[in-house]
Assembly symmetry: C2
Homo-oligomer: 478 residues x 2
Amino acid sequence: MPSLSVLGITKQSHRRLTPFSFPSRDFNTYFYTQKLDHFNYRAESQATFQQKYVINSKFWGGANSSAPIFVYLGANAPLDDQIRRIGFMTDNAPQFNALLVYIEHRFYGQSTPFGSSEEAYQNDRTLDYLNLSQTLEDYAEVILDIKKNLSANNSTPVIVIGGSYGGVLATLFRLRYPYIALGALASSAPILYLDGLKPQLQDGYFSIVSKDFREASESCYNTIQQSWSEIDKIASQEDGLSVLSRRFNTCTPLENSSWLKDALKLVYAAAAQYDAPQINQAVNLICTAIDRATNGTDVLDKVIAAMFAFFSKYPGPHEYCDEMHQWAWNWQICTEILIPTGISGTDTMFQAEPFNLTSYKETCKGLYDLRLMPEPFWITSQFGGQQQDVKLVLGRFGSNIIFSNGLRDPFSAGGVLESLSDSLVALPTAKGSHCLDIYAALPNDPDWLIVQRRSELKIISQWIAQYHMDRAANISYI
Amino acid sequence: MPSLSVLGITKQSHRRLTPFSFPSRDFNTYFYTQKLDHFNYRAESQATFQQKYVINSKFWGGANSSAPIFVYLGANAPLDDQIRRIGFMTDNAPQFNALLVYIEHRFYGQSTPFGSSEEAYQNDRTLDYLNLSQTLEDYAEVILDIKKNLSANNSTPVIVIGGSYGGVLATLFRLRYPYIALGALASSAPILYLDGLKPQLQDGYFSIVSKDFREASESCYNTIQQSWSEIDKIASQEDGLSVLSRRFNTCTPLENSSWLKDALKLVYAAAAQYDAPQINQAVNLICTAIDRATNGTDVLDKVIAAMFAFFSKYPGPHEYCDEMHQWAWNWQICTEILIPTGISGTDTMFQAEPFNLTSYKETCKGLYDLRLMPEPFWITSQFGGQQQDVKLVLGRFGSNIIFSNGLRDPFSAGGVLESLSDSLVALPTAKGSHCLDIYAALPNDPDWLIVQRRSELKIISQWIAQYHMDRAANISYI
């Protein structure tokens, strides 16, 4: 299938390129008996599944201490992998005496209903229960249940935290359940992409990828730009696809050149998205390999050298070798999470390939027997039909959300980069990449990242302080 | 069945006791092909139904004029009847150059899916599509469709208006779809009742009914208070139920005294709820009949005289004669709209009959094969689990809602009577009753009602002015 979305498809790269730590004994795993269907009341809809969540209470001040609960809202991946990476939670729990909670997203990891992934991903009848409304309500119920078990009442505020798609969830959760979550930290959440049928926005993602490479090396950028027609040229020759398969060492023989080009595109995208000076130098690594290739080496050899360098340094399944049966995520991007990315202009290092809604829908139709697409999109009816509406509407509605972004992250093209109001605050960094702020602090973190995290913590502290002041003001209503 | 809720059961009284006008030719009826199920994407869920809406464009300034759309969100009744009563819309459209839109609630009137009421109300499989999430999304889609048809963009703000349960819908709609509705006028919306398992709140409704009667006449109050044991006494005698049936002229012979007492209670409740000096004097009418009854007449004769006076003046099907197959509403109050009203104390004119959740659930279980009840209640997760949370949470979240109430309305016990923030404004009147402000203005309206309506219009004007200022401020986002 053609790649429907850059979001999610770079999961393998995410694993390779981001820091993680092994969980300690302070993390305890639980399962909540969750309703499969929150929005039907008939007896028939009583099916449940086991939803996984993890609690770390090492730092918690207790239900009577007015200390908060930090809740990480799991995104489209198994929870354990995310827990190891979201160092922001453990790093900052001590200063808040916070309880740490991590909740797995339905249909991912061990929170898959119907007994097994095979059953759950089987068809549109089972996947139908995988949608945002159900997912948000899952989180609401788990949080309320945990608070009940801990005898925590409204003196225990909840802050929800999420990154990327999880940041979208955190944003929506605060807007929809203000009573449950006092505030949200939404890291690298491309919420404006969800509107997104504007060409300008659609081009944003790969424009930033190109910019990142161009800043690293003009000649590298040029080489990559030239490589596409070179691939096309060889592919059009007799036996050309075999040549390409052999030279790129693909797992299975190529059937067309698009497949190879998509795979390369995703490697460049992942390198740009997760590039971070103190963790990896993914863009530099690729560009150095390209630029240092022996004089006289042809364009393709340079690109192949770059791939070799990249996958030697960051081993793991290749984008273009891994089957990745990511049926759950594909269902989501075919129904609710449309992130339109294309390349309509000629000012990138990629070949033009404008986003095409019709072929997108056709691809989805080929995958699932579904009603395509929800119109108006469920998400945009929450945020506004056009980008400027986000400011117009949320500028005077809602509160307590931090939108953090790094401008070198291609997804920042769909991020909220200007504050919408006093308490809907944007915290962009010029040099940051995807979700950097919610990963663990490292000794060699650059100053701008330290400052960004410090700002986030200060804002969250203010939310909590104001909340307790409001409560103490003895607000008795009726 | 026992009466589950006072809300809705007084629909007949509503018809009798409130002013209405016949619709003019300016009202045009349309039908929108609505999705039966907004939250499933599988092909199977493609069923639709025809949702009725009515437009009056006589006063509209047009899509380019920045004039607003007033949208009346239909409540639990056929739309036509509501259109005739919501005079606030037509009264005030000229001054705003507003387009008037009225949308019928799914499963009521002509907006019943499955072809007929019989089919639609058949069982839990069909009624399952009757819930708040679906209803709110219906309204969102109809409004967006109307705007699209009129080529109206974000220069045309939308104000949603609703009364009673419809006021709850208007509140939820503004909170959930801030992009679609700039603001909401929620008249007599008992949103705090939806939390409501607190005895203090549960008693509110009938406490206010009693207070209204006591203020009208202490002796009337005493007579009613004495009548219940008198009914019990006769009922316990041999052939007593026949005596009661004959004296009260019931449609069918009474099988127990509770049924008669419930019916009387609902007449008193309706009289108090809709009592309005310039329209009817329902409470006075009843009390005058009771107090003027000949000296020596027994307590029951006095009550019977009052019923005779009431139903002579306001004819129509009696509460205790009409079958009222209100299956749709019963489904709603058995699943999502729990309005717990009971009488636990002895300081009312009624016999003690505390609200009993267990028997409430049993009654519902007898009616439908459903999963009882949603826990935590869907609605309270929007507003907060406890009453004081409404202020704590919405005090710093959300904007542009007017909560209007009349304190003589028994439902004001569950109304928002204090402003939650600068733009979540309470407008209570000491002498008002249920939804008085959204009915048509009358020549003999009391000053306090004129002032209340004027305040509402001023606030709505301010919302609209501020919105256009924000737009004009040339907010360009991204």
